[in-house]
Subunit: 141 residues, 2 copies
């Protein structure tokens, strides 16, 4: 369905009961999926107008400009909405090459380790830490 007739592009998004929609960030260069976060109307609007990923932090309950503390800003290259309007995809340039607060390139660094053929017993960290959390956020905070 084309939403060309929708006057407000923000109305075309199927916001959930909390007024949020999941947003996936993917690295424009190597193509790796970096993280999943959430946006409200203001965050999506700011993302497009500022040309950088702006999320809504559910834990802090406020607008969160990705990289505001760490410097690991995500420059917006391309934005996409899915068929049902209930998920967003951001192609970004990840400044510093680190998206995760743990200092890893991507937040998706845990893989299941199977104890038997069809049952996984635990998740194992499979990606290296590029920079320590202390070094990113500072010990004085």
């Amino acid at each position: 369905m084309n939403t060309r007739s929708t006057q407000d592009w923000l109305d075309a998004v199927a916001w959930n009961d909390e007024g949020l929609v999941p947003a996936i960030a993917q690295d424009h260069g190597h193509g790796r999926v970096l993280m999943l976060a959430w946006m409200n109307r203001e965050a999506l609007s700011l993302t497009l107008s500022e040309g950088r990923a702006v999320y809504y932090s559910r834990s802090r309950q406020r607008i969160w400009r990705k990289g505001e503390e760490s410097g690991h800003v995500q420059k917006l290259i391309q934005l996409r909405l899915d068929c049902d309007g209930d998920a967003l995809l951001l192609e970004v340039e990840q400044i510093g090459g680190i998206a995760c607060h743990t200092g890893r390139a991507s937040c998706f660094y845990r893989a299941p380790v199977a104890a038997s053929a069809d049952h996984a017993a635990y998740w194992q960290d499979v990606d290296a830490v590029i920079q320590s959390e202390e070094s990113i956020y500072g010990s004085a905070e």
Copy 2:
């Protein structure tokens, strides 16, 4: 945080109030993000044991083996959990090269078209339909 000590790998997932977690499917070959769907405990367990993407359909309120009607099965290549445990990433082989029910390669086929420098007026379909919905699901249904 390593969850090695967690006996049940399913308990390490931060299920939401509805017992669900968002799952991103990414194509193993070209790296494109194909779709975002949801999983409950059973869906995640089946995904790993059956080696294919099994979601929980919120609209139909039942387990949904991706491709069960269309044939567009997603073979599981790799599974990842994110740092907070509240999002999953599936690297898949997309059978038929079509993930979207609209017959497109990816569900993320709508891009904002700006009416002015910082305000987008509408979303435009920017990807081609590979196969028609009628052809995928049949007209007899």
